[in-house]
């Protein structure tokens, strides 16, 4: 029987590597799921600290899922006290001015519609879709991150795209 060298991540270096591998994904996941006003960055840090405090109790293969669950719960606790307002408020910043005012206005309009449509997606769809489109993650990566099958990811993302386009066309 071969045993892993270390079955927890109490080791400094191991923890650092773990942090660098998962922190951004966790942050993005929380952001696309809950929006930014609940401060996903803080929750990421909190979740990692919790993981560190309990590092002796958590086997390495379970660490990632512990981390995501913890962060998710931290978020849900915050949500319980605050009505969710999904607000993807990051306004597009255009650095070029060659567009006609009309075009700029159209652009603004389009973003508003899109924002609305995104907040109307289901949570599952939104997370998968934005991780895919914005963060450029492939289906397989998302599936790993969310602990679901690639097929399910594909379904969520395609469904989200269809829904978005439909809503934008309607408005």
């Amino acid at each position: 029987m071969s045993q892993p060298l270390q079955d927890n991540i109490c080791d400094d270096l191991l923890f650092e590597r773990f942090y660098k591998k998962h922190s951004k994904n966790l942050h993005d996941f929380l952001y696309y799921k809950f929006g930014e006003h609940l401060n996903p960055q803080d929750k990421v840090q909190e979740a990692f600290i919790k993981l560190w405090q309990n590092c002796g109790k958590i086997a390495l293969p379970k660490a990632k899922s512990y981390l995501f669950t913890t962060a998710n719960n931290l978020m849900l606790n915050a949500v319980a006290h605050q009505k969710v307002v999904l607000k993807y408020s990051k306004q597009p910043q255009k650095h070029y001015t060659s567009e006609s005012p009309e075009f700029v206005l159209q652009e603004k309009e389009y973003h508003k519609k899109l924002q609305n449509a995104i907040s109307n997606l289901t949570e599952a769809q939104r997370i998968a879709f934005l991780l895919n489109r914005v963060e450029g993650k492939r289906f397989k990566e998302i599936a790993e991150l969310l602990n679901i099958s690639t097929k399910a990811v594909e379904k969520r993302i395609y469904g989200a795209l269809k829904k978005l386009r439909k809503e934008i066309k309607e408005l």
Partner: protein, 298 residues
Amino acid sequence: MKREELIKKWLDYNLSTEELNAFERLEDYNNIIQLDTALTDFKAPDFSIDNNYESIKPKLKKETAKSNEWLKPLMKFVAILAIGFSIYYYTTTLDTHIDTIVAQHTKVELPDSSTVNLNANSTLSFNKNNWNDDREVRLNGEAFFNVAKGQKFDVITSIGIVSVLGTEFNVNQRKNYFEVTCYEGLVAVTHRDKTVKLKPGYTFRIINGKLRANEKENTTQPSWLRGESSFNSIPLKYVISELKNQYNIDISTNNVDTSRLFTGSFTHKNLDLALQSVTIPLNLGYSKSGKSIVLKRE
């Protein structure tokens, strides 16, 4: 290839060049691309892994330090426990001491409900913990024992050992004076490797290392329990020291022969009466000034 398939492959960043061309020819290609570019504006705020790790690092360090610190209170707790245990052990295995001062009588209950009446100026010690294995008391002075039935019961004095099994007896051990009187049952007295068995009413007495004849007495309790000291042919000096034990006084006996034998008794309640009961039969007189008493020949 079907439209849906193409879009899905595009979503998964998995289009070959051929498929890409096909995808670009889709009638809603522009729409999709417009949507896609607009979506990038919804990107999550930058999460700087390195910066964030640096900011979390001190907290982790503190936690590791803490993980050692939890030992500290534990160590304290263990130390307190150890100290407490040793104190408990020490005190419970320690002998129990009972002292009486001059003119004081005390009744002591031993752990097995045997009782000891301790006469004045005496010391009794025993070990409560070992009591079940070893019924053993150390005596210095005089005491009357009423021993509950059971294992061997030993009274250890500097002159001899008295062993019994459930009985009533009196042990009197003063300076150079050792007296055991049995009132009930059977008492064995060991003195210098010789064991003498005493039947009820008999007294074993050693004065100055010499064995005195023992004779039968017809009382059921030593007289001192009734507030009286009785003597039967006992040298005067032991009578005087017993007087000193019962009364807080100083007695000087210049010119008086203290080896004369005295038979009689004195009370513990009245000093003058006691002095008279000792001096008159021996044809002596005394003068009293405060706490010091001088005996003299008439």
